[in-house]
């Protein structure tokens, strides 16, 4: 029984990383209409930046996380301005942005490889709270607890921002139709920048926490998050933060449980089959609303 509970916690912690990744990915997709293949590299670079902050500047854990999050956000904005803004100005469709995001992915992914010397690095064990907690015979690590709390806080914050603030209304307006939003007095440029930053920051948070708890700071960090985070977006629906977060956690639990009780070689198959099933049977995700299609 305690094994089951421990694995449940492991699944929640792993899923929280997917969730953090997914809410940013979904936000960009819903608001800016971009399928951003470079989203995973923000996580890798955030982890690299946080590691540098620890090793070069000797910053403590909370500040290092902050550095990583800021780095992820800044990178999100930079990629948006360099790779997406020129296309946006021209009114090119989603395909062009997908290609430039692939280009950004190739560049950032390979530069991340150069930055880590093609190696996988890890945070020094004394640079983060690395202990184990024992509650009634159940063991879990402090980092797992921190990851789950961070995910809950980010999801709640993002949800309140998107659904219950004036700014969120502006975001949704831009996501629906940019010109129309501009007509009613929303400044699309500000919305674009803020969305890109928030998405990059969420991915960055996933990167730093994931880089610490899996002892892996390298380009593969972002790639691993990318595939599963993408699945979470599809299952959860991209236009609702809660859906993406819930789906991320559920996928994490499913992954851990299917490895423990079914088979590791079928683990990813189960995840992706579920993904495809959702796409075909419920293509708007768990909380998906109605779509606006020109008749």
């Amino acid at each position: 029984m305690s094994l089951f509970v421990e694995q449940l916690i492991n699944g929640c912690a792993l899923g929280s990383l997917y969730a953090l990744f997914a809410i940013g990915f979904g936000l960009v997709f819903a608001t800016l209409g971009i399928l951003n293949a470079a989203h995973g590299t923000y996580a890798s670079w955030a982890a690299i930046a946080a590691l540098a902050a620890v090793q070069r500047l000797g910053l403590p854990f909370p500040l290092a996380v902050l550095v990583g999050v800021a780095a992820g956000g800044a990178l999100g904005v930079a990629v948006d301005q360099i790779a997406f803004q020129p296309l946006r100005r021209r009114g090119a469709g989603m395909l062009g942005a997908l290609i430039t995001s692939i280009a950004a992915w190739i560049v950032l992914d390979n530069l991340a490889g150069v930055a880590t010397g093609q190696d996988s690095l890890s945070f020094p064990t004394d640079s983060y709270p690395g202990g184990m907690l024992h509650v009634g015979g159940i063991a879990f690590s402090t980092m797992q607890l921190i990851t789950i709390i961070a995910m809950l806080a980010a999801t709640l914050g993002m949800h309140l921002l998107v659904r219950h603030s004036r700014f969120g209304a502006a975001m949704r307006a831009v996501g629906w139709k940019e010109q129309a939003a501009a007509i009613v007095g929303v400044d699309p440029r500000r919305v674009v920048l803020a969305t890109a930053f928030l998405a990059g920051a969420a991915s960055g948070l996933a990167g730093v926490l994931g880089g610490i708890s899996t002892a892996n700071v390298s380009y593969s960090l972002g790639e691993g998050l990318m595939l599963k985070g993408f699945a979470a977006v599809v299952v959860g629906g991209y236009d609702d933060v809660r859906g993406a977060a819930l789906a991320g956690v559920a996928l994490g639990i499913l992954e851990v449980m299917s490895a423990q009780y079914v088979s590791t070689s079928l683990r990813d198959g189960i995840t992706y089959a579920l993904l495809l099933g959702f796409l075909l049977l419920r293509p708007r995700g768990l909380f998906g609303g109605t779509s606006f299609v020109r008749a």
Binding site: L3, E6, Q7, N10, G11, A13, L14, N110, G113, G117, Q118, D119, S120, L121, S122, T125, G130, M132, A139, S141, Q144, G210, S213, T214, A215, N216, S220, L221, G224, E255, V256, A259, Q260, S263, T264, S265, R267, D268
Partner: protein
């Protein structure tokens, strides 16, 4: 014994280097000139960390061989590099370019077995020797064209597992397996059979995938089986992650690793978590005893500023083996005559292992050295004491 043999070899080497001494196996001295080896490198991509070591070792070997005219007066060997990023299609293109370059006399490539398998038929039909420097799949070598400089890890794994069982006497053990890697599947099978024969029960086999990054759940699963020892048969990244996760979750039993733990970067990353974990090793700069091995370590350090690892040793041996073939062939060797000469070699004479026999194009090393990382980051012989 080993040292004496090595010293004799060095003496022979010096003699041969200084003059045009004709050995019994040689018809004529090698014609002066620059002999080029095409090196398909993997210096970017998923396993570039190892790929760089292979290439560095090869470059050092070329420097040494050329510096004292080891193959004969006025002879040089040089390494031409093309990166494949571990992509089979790229490796094939690289090999075709080397084949087309008439000045390239031999090629060396491949860390990944699928890539090696793709390149193999091409070199055989084009007729150019290929020395595989990293891929571990049994059955890859096919003389006279294809040779492997990688010691087959299976027997060494079994010896390590048995020695661990003899010293620590575990009742039950759990295995970690890279389920998408058949070579490791076979290695685990061999070790498991040997241990079960000794009466060691198998508590369970925990599968992971080579591309996985999160090992908390697999570690929890393994510890849930309460084994006395855990044996790890995975590639490097998962092995490192598994050890980190096991130690973090407070596992105190014996952990047995495999040769992927030997590079210095593993200790740098894991620190105290990897100390005392036994694994078999073909070469380690800390345990270099023969003059060749010591010279290799010193030369490597002088050229690159860090210690060589097993990968650098394999890249180094690949070039030495080709040079040995060229010297033995003598005269003006072609790709075909070089292949014929290589097929006639029964050992790599200049080696850092203290003996490197070749059978059917596959090298081997004598005995199994079992080592572990010490607290100060050195590889020391493993004794079994905690």
């Amino acid at each position: 014994m080993r040292i004496a043999k090595g010293a004799a070899l060095v003496a022979a080497m010096l003699l041969a280097g200084g003059s045009v001494l004709a050995g019994p196996a040689r018809a004529a001295a090698l014609a002066p000139g620059d002999y080029k080896v095409g090196f398909v490198a993997e210096i970017t991509g998923p396993i570039a960390f190892a790929g760089k070591s292979f290439l560095a070792g090869a470059q050092l070997a070329a420097d040494e061989i050329s510096a004292n005219g080891w193959m004969g007066k006025g002879t040089h060997i040089s390494v031409l590099v093309k990166d494949s990023a571990s992509d089979a299609a790229r490796a094939i293109q690289d090999i075709h370019q080397f084949i087309a370059d008439r000045s390239v006399i031999a090629t060396t490539c491949c860390i990944l077995s699928p890539v090696a398998n793709s390149v193999k038929p091409i070199v055989a039909s084009a007729g150019i020797p290929l020395v595989i420097h990293g891929a571990t799949l049994p059955g890859l070598p096919a003389p006279p064209w294809v040779y492997s400089m990688t010691v087959l890890p299976g027997p060494k794994d079994v010896a390590t597992a048995v020695k661990m069982a003899e010293t620590t006497k575990p009742k039950s053990v759990t295995y970690f397996l890279a389920a998408d890697n058949d070579a490791f599947k076979a290695r685990l099978g061999a070790a498991r059979a040997a241990l079960e024969k000794m009466g060691v029960k198998t508590a369970g086999v925990v599968s992971v995938l080579t591309a996985d990054t999160d090992f908390t759940a697999p570690a929890t699963q393994a510890m849930g089986e309460h084994p006395d020892a855990i044996l790890i048969y995975t590639t490097q990244a998962p092995a490192v992650g598994i050890i980190a996760a096991l130690r973090q979750r407070g596992y105190t039993g014996t952990i047995v690793g495999n040769d992927v733990l030997s590079p210095a970067s593993v200790f740098k990353k894991l620190g105290p978590a990897v100390v005392g974990i036994p694994f078999p090793i073909g070469f380690s700069s800390d345990l270099a005893t023969t003059p060749e091995a010591k010279a290799f370590v010193a030369g490597y350090k002088a050229k690159f500023g860090n210690d060589p690892d097993i990968y650098s040793a394999q890249g180094y041996e690949a070039i030495w083996f080709i040079a040995q073939g060229l010297r033995a062939a003598g005269g003006k060797p072609t790709r075909a005559t070089l292949a014929k000469t290589l097929a006639a070699q029964h050992e790599v004479t200049h080696n850092v292992y203290g003996g490197e026999p070749i059978t059917g194009g596959q090298i081997d090393t004598a005995g199994t050295t079992i080592v572990a990382w010490s607290a100060d980051g050195k590889l020391v012989p493993w004794t079994g004491a905690k």
